[in-house]
């Protein structure tokens, strides 16, 4: 796991331990204040993609990220099983 931090990562701060609200999710104010605008948006590159060398945080590093991952997997597998059974 890499965990680079720096001012040149406008979008990445949404998932990198910025001030958080209930259950560790970013508050609306935090999201608004960290959304890329103007020049900072251009710095993201084509279509707002991350630049090379940047990495997303592993959801398993956070307990809530782990639980949410498990719930998402449950929904996916539910549809898989439903398609098999019906």
């Amino acid at each position: 796991m890499t965990s680079s931090k720096g001012p040149a990562e406008p979008a990445a701060c949404l998932v990198r331990g910025q001030p958080s609200g209930w259950i560790g999710l970013p508050t609306l104010a935090t999201i608004k204040s960290t959304l890329p605008t103007g020049e900072s948006f251009a710095a993201l590159g084509p279509a707002g993609q991350r630049r090379e060398g940047e990495s997303m945080k592993n959801p398993l590093d956070s307990l809530w990220g782990t639980v949410i991952s498990g719930l998402i997997l449950t929904v996916i597998l539910y549809f898989v099983v439903k398609s098999i059974l019906t």
Binding site: L63, Y78, V81, L85
Partner: protein, 163 residues
């Protein structure tokens, strides 16, 4: 032989509660407690006295859970693992449980042995072992959520699946 499924189900639940209960203890309690204990110099209490005992019951409960589950499936074992014969729901649960058992014995336990000093390892190896064991354990927490959904599937789930 009619007693076998009932006893297997009972044992499956008993061992499963111990396995998943300890898994949740490690992830919801011990990880954060160890961080705090390391900060105030009391981590040895956990790493020497609590973790080895918890790991002993954890890994063997995983084996008993899997074996009792296999006995409970009985002649439906193949159907479950091939997701046939209307056994897709419990089959997915069985696959998830099997992956979790693999994680316990192939990733978590060997690396925990290095972390706890039960096996010789350099500091670099210990750091790597911490990361691997942590991620494997967290993976098992994530997998346990759908696993329990599908394992608990019975009459109560028929409506959910439109049966």
């Amino acid at each position: 032989m009619d007693y076998v499924p009932a006893l297997a189900r009972w044992l499956h639940f008993l061992a499963g509660v111990m396995w998943i209960g300890l898994l949740y203890y490690f992830n919801f309690v011990q990880v954060a407690a160890l961080k705090a204990a390391t900060a105030d110099g009391t981590a040895a209490g956990i790493t020497k006295h609590v973790a080895p005992r918890a790991l002993l019951y954890f890994r063997w409960a995983a084996v008993v859970t899997w074996l009792a589950g296999a006995a409970l499936l009985g002649n439906q074992f193949i159907n479950a693992f091939t997701l046939r014969g209307g056994m897709a729901g419990i089959g997915v649960g069985a696959w998830l449980g099997t992956i979790m058992l693999f994680n316990v014995w192939a990733l978590i336990w060997p690396n925990q042995q290095k972390i706890l000093g039960l096996k010789p390892a350099t500091d670099e190896e210990k750091n790597k072992a911490r990361r691997v064991a942590f991620l494997a354990s967290r993976t098992n927490v994530a997998l346990s959520i759908p696993m329990l959904f599908f394992m608990a599937g019975g009459w109560s789930h028929r409506g959910i699946f439109g049966l």
